[in-house]
Structures are given as structure tokens and as C-alpha cells.
């Protein structure tokens, strides 16, 4: 039996999203990735509360550099802090930065890019030259400038990274919109009297979700790495707060002697990246009605 007929039986509500959800549920890799990713998020959120007695902020020099054991699953670091709790605490920061900055870049990039692409002509040329100019600013100097102007601030980290990442998103969206806006279904929509906003958000954007989602799912890890770089330069997260990027950096310095300092944060980080990639792939396929397998 075809999709359409099965859908007809559950009457209302078979929208792009419910169809997409059903298709996503059929994609085994995406489901596994979602479960893993969900577990990671859950652990990062509630883990530090459950294992509070090992709070990552409590220094205990007597316990420094302990191997993984029953009482410290991931071992301890140079200050005797529990690496498991540190990893989970770092995960909170990394995930928050990753998602918030990606969200910022997604919103700005999609709106800016679709507007430039849809309007076209001189407006588009002007808007895209602005993007080119912003591209040419050295990123770190830009962030330092922001820090100098507004003082060091955790929120500023999201803004700064999001502000840089949206440029590529805007270019991708613009190019896709340009290619689509002359197709006949858009012209049909205009002939039917649809408004520009309805055409952009109801007709054009759903058709470019694929590349947008793929790029967004690649942006999250890229942002996490950027955060690590900034933190290293002293512009991002500061100890005793932590992030995966910082932990990996610290761990990498001591890899010969105390490998667990690197392995565990890196495992979490890679697991997150892997699952994000599979989720992104799955979402792209699920949102494309043509990829329907039945």
C-alpha cells in the first residue's frame, strides 16, 4: 500500500512534518544517533547534579592524576578534579555554545540570504558585498574588538561566533533561492496572488531545507571548535568553567602520561559530532518527500 493511501486513513495532520517524522523514524542510523545524542545531552544536564560530591570545581591535590577507577570513572586531572564531572560540565558549555551560536547564524543567515536572493538585482549585489566585507575581517580581531567594547561576557561568545558563522549560511541560502525563484511553481504562486513572505517561507525555504540542515549540522561542531580556540586565547570560557574544547586541549598536552585526560572528553566530543552528522543526514532525507522509501 502506498504512502498516500495509508495517510488518508489518519485523516488530518499528515503534514510535511508528520511525514518527515515517520520517515526519520525509519532511518535506523538517524534513530541510533538521536538516542546517543539525547543521552549525551541528558548526562550533561543532570550528571553534574547527581555526582555533586565530585564537583569539578573542588580542587583536591592529593587526588591529582588518578587513573580511572570505581570512585573516579574517568580518573582525575592535575588538580584532582573528577574528569567525568568535568567532561559533563564542559559538555554543557560546548553544547550551549554550539546550538545557540548555530541558531543565531541560522536565523540571520536564512533571513538575510533569502531576502537577498529573492529580491535580487542591486539590492542583492549590495547585501552580498556587505557579506564579503564581513568575511574579510579577521575573526579573532573581530572578537577581541567585541570583547574590548563590551567587556568579557559569556553571552558575547554566542553572539560573536554566530555573527561570523551566518555569512556562509547566507551565501548558501541566497544561491539556492536564486536557483529556485524562477521555477514555474513560484511563478504560479505569484499568479495565484500569494504574498512575497508566503512564497519565501512557504514555498522557497521548504525546498532548500536539505542544504540548510546539512550546513547547520556541520556548523554545530565547527562552532564548538571555534569556542575551544577562543577559550585557548583567553577570550572565551575561563577556568574553572570548562568546555570540551578546553579539556581536549589540556588533555592533549599530557597525552603521553595521562591519556584519560584526553580520551574521555574527546570520546564525548566525537560521539556528539558523529550523531549530529547522522541526524543531519536523516533530517535531510526525511524532509524530502521524494526520498520516501515506500
Amino acid at each position: 500500500m502506498s504512502t498516500a493511501e495509508t495517510n488518508l486513513q489518519n485523516e488530518e495532520g499528515a503534514s510535511l512534518w508528520t511525514d518527515a517524522w515517520r520517515r526519520l523514524a525509519q532511518n535506523r542510523m538517524a534513530v541510533v544517533a538521536t538516542v546517543i545524542f539525547g543521552l549525551i545531552i541528558l548526562l550533561c544536564l543532570i550528571g553534574p547534579l547527581l555526582f555533586g560530591q565530585h564537583s569539578g570545581e573542588t580542587n583536591n591535590l592529593e587526588n591529582a592524576f588518578q587513573k580511572p577507577s570505581g570512585s573516579h570513572w574517568f580518573g582525575t586531572d592535575d588538580l584532582g578534579r573528577d574528569v567525568f564531572v568535568r567532561t559533563l560540565e564542559g559538555g554543557r558549555i560546548s553544547l550551549a555554545v554550539g546550538f545557540l551560536a548555530t541558531a543565531v547564524s541560522l536565523v540571520i543567515g536564512v533571513v538575510y540570504g533569502s531576502f537577498a536572493g529573492y529580491v535580487g538585482g542591486r539590492t542583492d549585489a549590495f547585501l552580498m558585498r556587505i557579506v564579503d566585507i564581513l568575511y574579510s575581517l579577521p575573526f579573532t580581531i573581530f572578537v577581541i574588538l567585541l570583547m574590548v567594547m563590551f567587556g568579557r561576557n559569556f553571552i558575547l561568545l554566542f553572539v560573536a561566533i554566530g555573527f561570523v558563522e551566518w555569512l556562509t549560511m547566507a551565501r548558501i541560502v541566497r544561491a539556492q533561492i536564486m536557483a529556485l525563484k524562477d521555477t514555474e511553481f513560484v511563478e504560479a504562486a505569484r499568479a495565484l496572488g500569494y504574498g512575497n513572505l508566503r512564497i519565501i517561507f512557504g514555498h522557497l525555504l521548504p525546498n532548500i531545507l536539505g542544504p540548510v540542515i546539512i550546513y547547520a549540522s556541520l556548523t554545530v561542531p565547527a562552532v564548538m571548535l571555534l569556542e575551544a580556540v577562543l577559550s585557548f586565547l583567553g577570550l572565551g570560557v575561563q577556568p574553572p568553567m570548562s568546555s570540551w574544547g578546553l579539556l581536549i586541549k589540556d588533555g592533549a598536552e599530557k597525552i603521553d602520561v595521562y591519556p584519560w585526560l584526553l580520551i574521555f572528553p574527546a570520546l564525548f566530543f566525537s560521539a556528539t559530532l558523529f550523531s549530529l552528522n547522522f541526524i543531519g543526514d536523516g533530517l535531510r532525507d526525511a524532509l524530502d518527500p521524494k526520498s520516501s522509501k515506500d
Binding site: S2, T3, A4, E5, N7, L8, A14, L16, R122, A125, T183, E184, F185, E187, A188, A189, R190, A191, L192, G193, Y194, G195, N196, R198, G202, H203, P206, N207, P289, K290, S292, K293, D294
Partner: protein, 580 residues
């Protein structure tokens, strides 16, 4: 001994939905130097057949399940990759449907032309280039020595198809496979390409396998015909007997459904008037409907609505659409393209105006300017007595309900992300018509009106065939209950058998709803079937207008005559004379 011999060939595709028997047990031969036409609609297996011969079927999902194919007495299907490659492009060459995408846009024509010679080690560079120039001249490209260094985008569609032909013939092959080489072209260009192929074939003695959905093209060209339907050959024979005494009901239907200049059908016959398909034990049985002729005769007994010539729904006067040419961001306009250059016509309510001309003549821009989808430069467009030229989006909004458009390409005119229900109900939602429940009911009614079933509502466009999609586009245009519809090449991308159904549908809707049409096409025979009055356009101007019958009977302009001559002749008399 035939040059090419195909025996019991079976090519199946193994998909998730089961086995598709694309080519199912077919046998035919091609003799040296003959033109074999393979005719059938999309999905009949005609392209898969030649793709199998050329080793172009992707495996998997495709699989050759059985049969043999031999070329010059050597096995084609089981030959080693090297042996196949040595044949392909050298002794068997192929040209494709879409000349716009079949040439590499980044390489000069010269590079692409000499490549087959170099690959097969048939000539050195310099000699190859000389051959390429000679070949270009042969396919009718002037100043070949200079133009050989151009890039593909510097040629028009028809010219590119000539280049493709030159490329295929440059190795002096024994078989040329032409897969719908004229389907993407205007009728006038098609006529030129057909003539060229005929000349080249006579000149070089190459055997040609010509694949098409249009029996008219076959009549112009082929010596023998193979008719394919659903993966089977339903009939084959020499061209005269196929046209004179078709045996299979599908062939009869295919012959009848083509609009003819000299016929006066009010409703076109369709394949389903002749062909009965019944399913028995999972196998589809084809049989002939007993009283096809009487049935078609009965169809003609409809009352066509009378048109009041004085009740003008649309009056266009001195309409101009000019596009500025711009070189860069800071430069001003460097020139003007006069897409539409001062045209005037009127369309009475309930009638059809046919707008006919070659690509680039401005007919499409005219249709769009009337609907204010492109802004007219000057002139007047009066709709139901109201001046609407240059109306903006807001002013046009109430008029959108009354004026609609159906586009050429049913594949790109439906948003792939919307279900049919969404596509049909959204226009009503935008114009605040009815409650969500009402809109759904209306969508069901619309689907039924265009001959589709209500259960299709939840499907996405990609699940439909081209003809079905065009029906959906028509339903969408009807969702706002317009009085006036522009049909912009609405059937040009379709197989003739599907075209007949859609044309009949459009006519039926016209008489039922008293619709007024502007019917735009490059094919005069289609326009003549649809239209009451006709306007012939060339270079943005109307060169001739009047009643469709009168223009066909007595074309005043040489250009109009050329459009008429371009329509493939498929009368038995003509074929008898040609083969004779």
C-alpha cells in the same frame, strides 16, 4: 544478414516496489542503412531498449534478464568492457533528447567534436580538427572554421542539436541511435533537424534508430516502425503498412490522437478509445474496444458554446514589454530587448485565442504581461473593461481570482514539498475562500473535475506522471474559479497520447465553465485544434491574425506558411509518395 539483431531481450529493474519489466521479451532487427523508428509513450521501454544496447543501463537496479543482441554478428551484451567501449561512439553512436544539457558547457565545441576521434585513435589532433570542421559544415553550420572554436552557449538549441549530430557522426558509425532528438525543439527546428538527418542518412548510408513518442515524426523519416507499449513490442512493420493498416488498437489510438491540420475533430480521439486494458492474474491483457469509430463519432456530437463576438473579456492594445540589458552593477542600460513590441488583439468571452510562433518570438512574455507577472513597458490591457496594465501586487490581488495561468513544465510548476491537497487549498486560503473543511471538499471536487481520484489528495507531485501533474496544475488554476486562463505551452512537454487527453480536458472545462483561454504554443496543429482565433507572432510583433481556420487555409505570411510546413506530415498518401 541484419546489422543489428535483438532477440527476446529482457531488461528488468529491481526496485523496492518490486520488479519493473521495462523491456519484456522484445525482438527486432536493423538492416544496414535503414531508418528504424521506435515509437511509444514515456515508460514504454523504448529508451531502455537502446540504453541496453549501448551498455548505459545502470546495473543495479537494472538487470538484463535474458535475450541476445548482436551487432555485426558479435555479441553486444556479454562483450568485455573494452570491446564494448571500442564499439560505442565509434561504430554505434548516439544523440540525446536535450541538446541544452548534452554538451559540456565548459569545453569548446572543437574539443568535444574531436574527442571521439582521439579516443578511438582514428586521427591526430590536426587532422581531427579538419574533420570536425568538415562535419560541422555537413550538418549545416555556416562559418564552421570559425565557429568550431565557440562554446556551446553561443549556439541555439537547434544548432546545438546539429553539433550533437556532427559529434555522433564524426567517427563514421554504422548505427546512429537518436533518442527523441527533436522533442525538446520547436516544430520549425524539428523539421530542419529531421530533414538534416534524412540527408545525412542518405549521404553516409548509416543505419538510424530513431526513438520518438510522435508517430508524425516517424511518418516523415522511417523505413520501418516498431511500436512499443508497456515494455512489449505490440506491432512492427514497414512504415506504410503501419500507417495504412494498423493492426494493434494501441497503434490505432496513437495514430488518431494527433491533432491534424486538416481534421475538424471537436474532441480528439485518445488511445483509451481504442485500447481496452484488463488485468488477469497479474498480467495486463490488451484488447481492442469493439466500437471505437462509432464512439469517437459520438464524441463529436457536442454543442460548442456560442461566442458573442462583442462581449470582449480581454482587450490588448499596443502592448510593449522591453527589457533593459545591463553589463554590470554600476553601468546603466546598454541596450533594450524588445520581447513584445506593440501588439494588439481582443478575446471575446468564452473563446480561445491561439498565440503561435517560434521560441523567442515573445508569445510567453505576452501571456505573462497580461497577468502582470512581468511589468509591461507601455500599452493597454483591459480585462472585463478595466484597465489593468502595470497593476502592482496589491491591485492585482482581487484579479488573481479571475485570471490564471498554466505553465509548460508540469514537473517544475508544482512545489515538490506540498501535497496535492495543500497545493489545491492554498490559493483558497490566501483569498479567504471558505472554511478549511469547505476547501478540502472543493479540492476533492476539483480533482474529480480534471479526471483524478480524491484519494490522490495526500500524495506529493513526484508520485504522478507528467500528464497527471498537468491535470493538477489545471485544477489549481481552477481553484479560484477564474474566467480567464493563459495556457503557456501547456501541452508542449507531453507525449502526443497524453497531449490529446489534456487538450480534451481543457476544451471540456471551457464549455462547462465558459472559460476564456489564451493558448500559447509553437505547434500550429495544436493551436488550430484549440483556438477560435489565432495570432502569429514573430520578433515581438503579431504578423498575422484572424480565425484559425482562415489562417490555416490561407496563410498570408511566408512565416506562417513555414510554421504550417513544419508540422510533420503523416498522411498515408504522403508516406506512399515518400517510400514509393
Amino acid at each position: 544478414m541484419p546489422l543489428l539483431e535483438i532477440d527476446n531481450l529482457k531488461t528488468y529493474f529491481h526496485t523496492r516496489n518490486g520488479v519493473v519489466k521495462a523491456v519484456d521479451d522484445i525482438s527486432f532487427t536493423v538492416e544496414k542503412g535503414e531508418i528504424l523508428g521506435i515509437v511509444g509513450e514515456s515508460g514504454s521501454g523504448k529508451s531502455v531498449t537502446v540504453h541496453t544496447l549501448m551498455g548505459l543501463v545502470p546495473q543495479p537496479p537494472g538487470r538484463i534478464e535474458g535475450g541476445t543482441a548482436s551487432f555485426d554478428q558479435s555479441d553486444l551484451l556479454n562483450a568485455s568492457t573494452e570491446a564494448q567501449r571500442a564499439l560505442r561512439g565509434k561504430r554505434i553512436a548516439m544523440i540525446f533528447q536535450d541538446p541544452m544539457t548534452s554538451l559540456n558547457p565548459y569545453l569548446r565545441i572543437s574539443e568535444q567534436l574531436i574527442e571521439p576521434l582521439l579516443i578511438h585513435g582514428m586521427a591526430e589532433r590536426e587532422e581531427a580538427l579538419k574533420k570536425a570542421i568538415a562535419m560541422l559544415e555537413k550538418v549545416g553550420i555556416r562559418d564552421a572554421a570559425e565557429r568550431v572554436h565557440s562554446y556551446p552557449h553561443e549556439f541555439s538549441g537547434g544548432m546545438r542539436q546539429r553539433v550533437m549530430i556532427a559529434m555522433a557522426l564524426i567517427t563514421d558509425p554504422e548505427v546512429l541511435i537518436a533518442d527523441e532528438p527533436t522533442t525538446a525543439l520547436d516544430v520549425t527546428v524539428q523539421a530542419q533537424i529531421l530533414r538534416l538527418l534524412k540527408e545525412l542518412q542518405a549521404d553516409l548510408g548509416v543505419a538510424v534508430i530513431f526513438i520518438t513518442h510522435d508517430l508524425g515524426v516517424i511518418a516523415e523519416l522511417a523505413d520501418r516502425v516498431v511500436v512499443m507499449y508497456r515494455g512489449h513490442i505490440v506491432e512492427q512493420g514497414d512504415v506504410l503498412s503501419i500507417f495504412d493498416q494498423p493492426q494493434h488498437p494501441y497503434t490505432k489510438g496513437l495514430l488518431a490522437c494527433r491533432p491534424r491540420l486538416e481534421s475538424t475533430f471537436k474532441v480528439l480521439p485518445t488511445v483509451s478509445d481504442y485500447l481496452e486494458e484488463t488485468e488477469e492474474g497479474g498480467e495486463i491483457q490488451l484488447s481492442e474496444k469493439p466500437d471505437a469509430a462509432a464512439h469517437i463519432e459520438a464524441l463529436q456530437q457536442i454543442e460548442e458554446p456560442t461566442v458573442d463576438e462583442n462581449d470582449l473579456l480581454l482587450e490588448v492594445a499596443d502592448l510593449k514589454v522591453h527589457f533593459p540589458e545591463r553589463a554590470g552593477f554600476f553601468s546603466g542600460p546598454t541596450g533594450v530587448v524588445k520581447a513584445v513590441d506593440g501588439i494588439s488583439f481582443t478575446v471575446p468571452r468564452g473563446s480561445t485565442l491561439g498565440l503561435v510562433g517560434e521560441s523567442g518570438c515573445g508569445k510567453t512574455t505576452t501571456g505573462r504581461a497580461i497577468l502582470n507577472l512581468v511589468a509591461p513597458t507601455s500599452g493597454s490591457v483591459k480585462f472585463a473593461g478595466m484597465e489593468i496594465a502595470g497593476f502592482g501586487a496589491a491591485a492585482m490581488l482581487p484579479l488573481r481570482k479571475r485570471m490564471q495561468i498554466v505553465f509548460q513544465d508540469p514537473y517544475s510548476s508544482l512545489n515538490p514539498r506540498l501535497t496535492i491537497e495543500q497545493a489545491l487549498t492554498e490559493p483558497m486560503a490566501v483569498h479567504n475562500i471558505g472554511s478549511p473543511g469547505d476547501r478540502r471538499d472543493r479540492a476533492v471536487a476539483l480533482l474529480e473535475e480534471v479526471g483524478l481520484e480524491a484519494r490522490f489528495l495526500r500524495r506529493y507531485p513526484h508520485e504522478f506522471s507528467g500528464g497527471q501533474r498537468q491535470r493538477i496544475c489545471v485544477a489549481r488554476a481552477l481553484s479560484l474559479e477564474p474566467e480567464f486562463i493563459v495556457c503557456d505551452e501547456a501541452v508542449s512537454a507531453m507525449d502526443v497520447s497524453v497531449q490529446a487527453q489534456v487538450l480534451n480536458l481543457l476544451k471540456e472545462l471551457q464549455s462547462r465553465r465558459n472559460l476564456t483561454y489564451i493558448f500559447i504554443s509553437h505547434d500550429l496543429s495544436v493551436v488550430k485544434f484549440m483556438a477560435d482565433t489565432m495570432a502569429v507572432m514573430e520578433h515581438g510583433k503579431i504578423v498575422e491574425q484572424g480565425s484559425a481556420e482562415a489562417i490555416y487555409a490561407n496563410p498570408a505570411e511566408e512565416y506562417t506558411q513555414r510554421l504550417i510546413d513544419a508540422i510533420p506530415r503523416d498522411s498515408v498518401d504522403f508516406i506512399r509518395e515518400r517510400v514509393g
